[in-house]
Symmetry: C2
């Protein structure tokens, strides 16, 4: 009986972890989609809103790591007002989480007319009072 109980507890804990991880995945994919929906309209607002004050970012158009939301805002200013792509797709999203921190990775497929581009995306989030903020962002283009 003890062993059965122990096995039940282990299974319950594991499925609890599983649920927690899939909830985090859902939450973070929703955040990413809000940002990408913004970019699809040329609106940097959602992407900026989710950026933590102390965000760091590697961006293909800059040669140094960006540090802080104001640096990101300055970069985004150059992209505002025009749609970044006609459509996009978030492929194979995955979360690795521990405590209040989570790494979301996925492949972003963007499409402009007939041209598709693929990007490796690493987005690190930190949760404070139940709200996720982006603390590090790294996109790199996949050579095709």
């Amino acid at each position: 009986v003890k062993r059965v109980l122990l096995a039940c507890i282990v299974v319950a804990c594991l499925s609890g972890f599983q649920d927690q991880n899939s909830r985090t995945l859902q939450e973070l994919v929703a955040v990413e989609k809000a940002s990408m929906d913004g970019w699809q309209k040329g609106d940097s607002g959602p992407a900026l809103a989710v950026s933590a004050p102390d965000i760091t970012m590697f961006h293909v158009m800059t040669r140094q790591r960006l540090e802080g939301r104001s640096a990101v805002q300055a970069l985004y200013a150059g992209y505002s007002g025009r749609p970044l792509f006609d459509s996009y797709r978030i492929d194979a999203p995955k979360v690795q989480a521990s405590g209040e921190m989570a790494v979301l990775t996925y492949v972003l497929v963007t499409r402009n007319a007939e041209n598709a581009q693929k990007w490796n995306a690493t987005q690190v989030y930190q949760r404070s009072k139940g709200v996720w903020a982006l603390i590090h962002s790294h996109f790199s283009q996949i050579q095709q």
Copy 2:
């Protein structure tokens, strides 16, 4: 007196965080250096040893996210036995940490004869029983 005490506590806490953060930075840079020292000799051992069983990796030579240490090991097999570079430098390392998870970012400068290459590096570590393991890795080349 209360205010002075409160200020002292705040300063003590902040410097505590500071110390903790700089210790984590030192530890993770040491881990990275061990891996890079290995690559400089064509030895993938140190890089593989620090990889978590459930590591994920974006690598310039693969078109999909690698998942798990055995996938990373298979990739590394192709690089073993020959030095990856003559020398390297870890520039501007920075840590963002929360609980048992930490993101180390830096710019890796590698040199072969007179050719230098620069890479944006995002390395996510998780600590278990005091030991750091790499759970996500994303390097991308900086266009020069």
